[in-house]
């Protein structure tokens, strides 16, 4: 690793021997603590939510809880490794990763596995890989790389438009999977990055106005039928309570019936009696709301806010624009995924397949989120070292 010398970090041989331990004093344990707490809460919820379909031993590869623990371990390891990697090394290869991301997204449309009407992952034997998870990080790195080479600045209209051109292809490819939620996440990342990179308010307003003008046409011609159905289901979920609106309705009942303190762990009848579908994945927040109530949800919100604020801190103390923008991108990534997932559970956003970060059952998401944290740690751990040169 020390062979990579970029931007003045990781210099002489004397330092190399000590570099394994270098920076750990600045490692953000608060951030990791909040993430791990969320994972633990997730394990409790997955256990409760899987009771209705899994009754085998806990220590089995068939157990959803056990699998999640394994993925968490893989994720944590990946996070530690990535923390140690200089993020400049990552931004250096940003374009390569970006190209790989695009190719994998194109490939998935050709050969990917389809479920619930959308094609989102590759089946690699025992595990499934979602290239969009990888593409998210690649895009964040590409944006950071691009802006850092242009003075870390989005004030210039040309720079702004080129950055938009970086995001648009990935977002469009995800959109046609179709995965409306993730394509919105891509644009939110871009928006967060350009705002922090100092975009001109005027440019942003004009682009927003153009978007609003074009939106009806996108709605008519581009939004896939399934999305229209999901969106219209949100408008009147009672219309067809056994059809597409079924889970929206059941999740509303699950959330609402939790009231202040919830029905207690393993006692949510919406979940335990199978009325709430995918209760350990996209609708795990409904399960949380039902069993732990408003108070439990506020606790989880607190953990997310803590985690995200530590991410903002990473952006704040980042040593250079690249690090800052990488951190901003990752904060936006986690924030938007959390927001959209919870909003779906609370029936204020159409149903879209975005898991709740760190909590939902699912390996790809969990591992890639820990890798994101690793990158954030990398930024945090290097801020002072960078400045010293």
């Amino acid at each position: 690793m020390s062979s990579v010398s970029y931007g003045g970090y990781g210099g002489g041989g004397v330092r190399t021997s000590a570099s394994v331990w270098r920076g750990w004093d600045r490692f953000d344990f608060v951030m990791v603590f909040s993430a791990l707490t969320l994972v633990l809460i997730g394990l409790l919820l997955i256990y409760s939510g899987s009771l209705s379909f899994y009754d085998g031993p806990l220590t089995s590869f068939a157990s959803p809880v056990f699998k999640q623990v394994i993925f968490a371990c893989v994720g944590i390891t990946a996070m530690l490794v990535v923390s140690k990697v200089d993020y400049h090394y990552l931004t250096h290869y940003a374009w390569v990763m970006y190209a790989a991301g695009i190719i994998s997204l194109v490939a998935i449309l050709a050969v990917g596995q389809t479920a619930y009407g959308s094609t989102r992952w590759f089946d690699l034997g025992p595990i499934q890989v979602q290239p969009s998870e990888f593409a998210k990080l690649a895009t964040i790195l590409a944006l950071a790389r691009y802006f850092s080479e242009h003075g870390g600045d989005a004030r210039d209209l040309k720079t702004l438009l080129i950055s938009l051109a970086i995001v648009t292809p990935v977002s469009a490819l995800v959109f046609v999977e179709p995965d409306l939620g993730t394509s919105i996440v891509f644009f939110a990342i871009w928006l967060g990055v350009v705002v922090v990179a100092g975009v001109s308010r005027r440019h942003l307003l004009i682009m927003g106005a153009i978007f609003l003008a074009v939106f009806p046409f996108i709605w008519t011609f581009a939004i896939a039928d399934y999305q229209v159905e999901r969106v219209s289901v949100l408008v009147d979920s009672n219309e067809d309570s056994l059809g597409a609106g079924y889970n929206v309705n059941q999740s509303k009942i699950a959330v609402g019936s939790g009231e202040w303190l919830g029905k207690g762990w393993k006692n949510g009848d919406q979940t335990q009696l199978g009325y709430l579908k995918v209760a350990t994945k996209d609708f795990i927040f409904s399960l949380l709301s039902e069993e732990f109530g408003f108070v439990g949800c506020m606790g989880v919100f607190g953990l997310y806010i803590l985690l995200l604020m530590r991410g903002v801190r990473a952006a704040q103390i980042a040593g250079d624009p690249a690090g800052q923008l990488v951190a901003v991108g990752i904060v936006m990534l986690i924030l938007m995924q959390t927001f959209i997932n919870v909003a779906v559970n609370l029936s204020i956003f159409p149903v879209t397949g975005i898991p709740l970060p760190f909590v939902s059952q699912g390996g790809s998401s969990l591992v890639s989120l820990f890798i994101s944290l690793g990158i954030l740690q990398s930024v945090v751990m290097r801020h002072r070292a960078y400045r010293q040169t």
Partner: protein
């Protein structure tokens, strides 16, 4: 807040590469988004939480009704007239079928093998239901399966997910077709009644009484629905039983009817429809009421032709038979004992009683009757009112009843406008008083028998004629009441209509000394444990008529059977008293015809049974009286009281 927001400022001032981003926006975004989520969550969990909690409970607690066993119906001797049976049908629940089309088709093929339904038809119906979003509602694919097939299907359904055998309560009427008009039948609810029945806690698949006693005593026969409340998961599996209440079987009905008599009368009437004399042609319909004059208990009530009321539950297999039944010109489903016809001379019992009470005749009034009565009308036009034959003899009221003299009754009711006074001072009041007496004897209103669809009959009077004989088809002044109207009414002709049950009740009043009883088919409503819930009484009302007057009328009736027009009703077992009736009417094609009636009671000294016989075509004394005699013979020989 330091843990959240550890600001960092480089002590050494800005370097070339110092990031310059404004991160406050990002912090606001984080807090703002969670604020939005928090507000929405608070709205759902705290503001609307209670109502969502209620919906959550409703979601998984399912109440299932358990249908009670319907009450039975027996005759007066305890003979069972109806049995409860299970009606087996095959149902298919589309959402429980396997996913793959091939697996589904295998099931359809298996169904064809077991119960013989067309796989294609089943497939179309399943696909339609899925298309329409009704895949959670079971479809009935075969009805009224024989028990053997039902058992076979039940066994086979283990390997056919989505297919099940459903058993709904049904009835088998075992008494014979003679009971069909009385018992009625049960059947599925009509859509227009469903809402009302739901209010009474009826399940949609619960059959209800449709006609006859099944309908009239529905609330007694039905019983109380039980229920089980179970906690159920989203897949319909029962998790836990929460609460239950056993159904209470319905109450049974013990009828006043004697099953043997009912069957005997039914067969007798069928055999008597054909006309032996050949004068008037065969009778097409007939009705009989056999009743206890003191209590109103109906011992037999027949309407001929009859039908098999099991046809309703077997309609799928007996469709053509049913079509024939409902298109038959004789209106088979209509209970003829409750349907009106001109009562003819049986009405003379009322005319006689009215005359004796109103003083237009005395028990000793004696008149010579020839062939007809001549009345001089306006402009000296002579109107002739013929008797049914040339009597050429002296009559008092008794012999006038016995020989059924029309002229004697004309004079008794209407007078002759010169020397003889009628019931009232003038033509109109005579008509009105006669109508009043007819109503006192229970005509012109339903008898209150415990069956639906009873006809009230019709008694004309001056007011009624004034209202009715106007408008298109009537000349001005035609709605006036003429003496001829009084005459017609006095002999049960013209506009008079009465049902056999009304005539039987009127006869009972004469026989029992002036009590107007309420006829009833049911004697007792009996709880499943055998206790009597309710006894149906006679509901008798006294008619304001003196016993002496009725005694005179009874003497006339005795005369009819013992020397007069109704002599063919006499039997060796008891002294019978009665009155024949032969009512002229015009068939729809314009041809003149006659209804045959006989109404009487026995034994003469201590009446215990009233018999009323009606044939739509025939002569009272020849057609109805002999039938009455046979019925009374059977009664005295076989009916245990």
């Amino acid at each position: 807040m330091s843990i959240l927001d550890e600001g960092f400022r480089a002590p050494g001032g800005s370097s070339r590469n110092r990031p310059h981003g404004n991160l406050r926006v990002l912090r606001i975004a984080v807090l703002g988004m969670f604020l939005v989520l928090g507000i929405r969550l608070g709205q759902m969990q705290i503001v609307d939480g209670a109502s969502y909690a209620e919906r959550s409970r409703e979601n998984h607690i399912v109440q299932r009704n358990i249908l009670p066993t319907r009450g039975l119906i027996t005759d007066r001797n305890g003979e069972l007239l109806v049995e409860n049976v299970g009606v087996y049908s095959a149902t298919i629940l589309p959402e429980a079928l396997p996913e793959s089309e091939a697996a589904r088709y295998l099931i359809y093929l298996k169904l064809q093998e077991v119960i013989g339904v067309s796989p294609l038809e089943v497939k179309v119906r399943v696909d339609d239901a899925i298309e329409a979003g009704r895949d959670y509602i079971a479809i009935k694919i075969a009805d009224n399966l024989p028990k053997a097939k039902a058992l076979e299907l039940d066994e086979a359904s283990v390997e056919m997910p989505g297919v099940s055998l459903s058993i709904t309560p049904g009835r088998r009427y075992v008494g014979g077709p003679e009971f069909s008009h009385i018992l009625g039948y049960i059947g599925p609810q009509f859509a227009e009644d469903a809402a009302r029945l739901k209010g009474l806690n009826y399940q949609l698949n619960e059959p209800i009484g449709k006609d006859g006693l099944e309908s009239r005593y529905e609330s007694d026969l039905r019983g109380t629905v039980g229920f089980t409340a179970v906690e159920q998961d989203a897949f319909g599996h029962q998790i836990a039983a929460l609460q239950s209440r056993d159904p209470v079987p319905g109450d049974s009905l013990k009828l006043a009817l004697d099953a043997g008599l009912q069957r005997y009368v039914g067969q007798l009437l069928e055999d008597s429809l054909a006309d032996s004399s050949g004068t008037w042609g065969d009778a097409k319909v007939a009705a009989v009421v056999v009743m206890d004059p003191n209590t109103g208990e109906v011992l037999a009530m027949n309407s001929i032709p009859t039908y098999d009321n099991n046809i309703y539950s077997e309609i799928k297999n007996r469709g053509s038979e049913y079509d024939q039944l409902i298109t038959d010109k004789r209106d088979i489903l209509l209970n003829k004992a409750l349907s009106p016809a001109a009562p003819g001379s049986t009405f003379k019992l009322i005319t006689s009683a009215a005359g004796l009470e109103e003083g237009s005749i005395s028990p000793n009034t004696s008149r010579f009757v020839g062939c007809l009565l001549e009345i001089k009308g306006e402009n000296d036009v002579l109107y002739e009112y013929p008797d049914w034959r040339c009597h050429n003899q002296q009559f008092d009221v008794r012999s006038a009843i016995a020989w059924s003299s029309n002229v004697f009754m004309y004079l008794t009711a209407g007078g002759d406008l010169t020397t003889t006074r009628g019931l009232g001072g003038d033509v109109e009041s005579s008509g009105a008083i006669l109508a009043t007496w007819a109503r006192r004897f229970g005509l012109n209103k339903p008898t209150g028998i415990d069956l639906d669809g009873e006809n009230a009959g019709r008694i004309p009077d001056p007011g009624w004629k004034k209202r009715t004989y106007v408008g298109a088809g009537f000349n001005p002044g035609e709605n006036e009441w003429f003496i001829g109207d009084t005459y017609n009414t006095a002999v049960g002709q013209g506009d008079v209509l009465a049902t056999p049950i009304q005539i039987a009740r009127m006869t009972a009043a004469v026989a029992n000394g002036g009590k107007l009883v309420t006829p009833h088919l049911v004697n007792q409503v009996i709880a499943p444990d055998g206790t009597v819930v309710r006894t149906i009484g006679s509901g008798a009302q006294a008619i304001n008529v003196s016993p002496a007057v009725l005694q005179v009328v009874r003497e006339g009736m005795w005369g009819s059977v013992n020397y007069g027009a109704g002599s063919r009703a006499a039997i060796p077992q008891a002294i019978v008293a009665g009155k024949t009736g032969t009512a002229e009417f015009y068939k729809p094609n314009g041809a003149k015809s006659q209804h045959a009636w006989f109404t009487g009671f026995a034994p003469y000294e201590k009446p215990e049974v009233v018999v009323t016989v009606y044939f739509d075509i025939g002569v009272g004394g020849d057609k109805a009286a002999p039938v009455a005699a046979k019925i009374l013979q059977y009664y005295f020989e076989n009916v245990k009281r």
